[in-house]
Symmetry: C2
Subunit: 248 residues, 2 copies
């Protein structure tokens, strides 16, 4: 896990529309760049941080993807998030001064290191940034509630359909195809995240394919019937406009 200066600026970044620079003025972005200078490469399977590590910074994903997990006292593990470029990691660590969760790279990834005390000071000075940070926290909470609904009330097929629709729309926001993508996580992680077993997830993938909803080959997923899948998910594609929109 090397830490080296990679000369990429926010204003050139592929995900600036989704990340902290969103909505900032040119000059404020320049100030933000001073905070986001450090980058970190995390290889697939390595952890960006582990539970118990001191909290010093937030991390913005530039490329790659991560899974967040917590481990209970008895060793039981729960995958709580899958994170894509432009999203922030570490938000849950502020209050306890240590990370309560693990962030493991699902593929070779690159993140911006955002020392939180510097970000805090900058936000004090740049109301737009401050509001954006609130919005990210708030949006994160809103999203968690949707997952609670999924885990609390929904059938296995609905859960998987909802995840596929969710990932699809998040890829779309990033300019990738919404109908075809490569899942960066293994079936076991999907199952764990959805509160299911890998076997059930595998069976569902097969069933969805048989029903003509998707076409799968390992982690390569093609959505053939977006409407049908959305109906299964029960969200009516609502994820499309559920991402953060921190206007003003």
């Amino acid at each position: 896990m090397s830490e080296r200066p990679i000369s990429v600026r926010c204003s050139d970044c592929a995900v600036k529309r989704l990340c902290l620079p969103a909505g900032l003025s040119e000059s404020d972005i320049v100030r933000l760049e001073r905070v986001t200078r450090a980058k970190k490469i995390v290889k697939a399977g390595d952890c960006l941080y582990r539970a118990g590590n001191p909290f010093t910074a937030l991390y913005a994903i530039r490329s790659g993807s991560f899974k967040s997990t917590i481990i209970a006292a008895d060793g039981d593990t729960q995958v709580t998030h899958f994170s894509l470029p432009g999203e922030l990691l570490g938000l849950d660590a502020y209050s306890g001064h240590t990370h309560p969760s693990y962030a493991e790279a699902l593929e070779d990834s690159c993140v911006c290191v955002l020392p939180f005390n510097q970000l805090e000071i900058l936000a004090q000075d740049v109301p737009t940034l401050q509001r954006h940070i609130y919005a990210i926290f708030s949006e994160e909470l809103r999203g968690e509630n949707e997952i609670l609904l999924l885990l609390g009330k929904r059938s296995a097929e609905t859960r998987l359909a909802a995840l596929l629709i969710n990932i699809s729309s998040r890829y779309a926001r990033r300019g990738y195809s919404s109908s075809r993508f490569l899942l960066s996580m293994p079936r076991t992680d999907i199952a764990n995240y959805l509160g299911l077993t890998a076997e059930t997830v595998s069976r569902l993938f097969s069933r969805f394919q048989k029903e003509g909803l998707i076409q799968v080959e390992g982690r390569d997923v093609k959505i053939l019937d977006m409407v049908g899948l959305s109906e299964l998910a029960g969200t009516h594609c609502s994820y499309d406009d559920s991402e953060l929109s921190a206007r003003q």
Copy 2:
């Protein structure tokens, strides 16, 4: 749902240790009081806000309790939170400018209205308050992850045991008994929150009683074997130190 000036100041408030004033200096508390002047009485069964209502303020619970729910497109409901005095409501509303959830009073309750734009301005000026707000957001996220673990991986008995331990410790923090309390929510809400049915919850209450872990009579709960219940919950009483501790 009346809105009237009730002359109570933060410095006199029963839950100031748990609420926004925590850690603030005398003079900063005075400034905070100017923001928190408005109170609102919400009668049992009434909603403090509903999904779709414009977001204008956060609410700090002074007395009583609330349940937060979201309603899916198909009408399915999920209880996402039970909130007690000193806790904040409305945090999930910031990003979308409207509340995504409902907050219904479980009993006659009183809240402080915190107009968010005023709070924002004050926080800009009072770093301790700013950090406290971050801490509350962050803590909230951390808590949600624990619930995900509960819903994703735990058996019905573990879920209920964990909820009882959780509520017990939250009452304790407020100076009430940790071993005996009155649940303000009906079985259906508990079941919904835990992703179970009311019948299952009822059966578990009966079983816990038969096993000598608790003594229940309707909503009146007495915990007879805190250690045993904690072991069932799998948390080893970890909820005790999981509340927000927004030092510096």
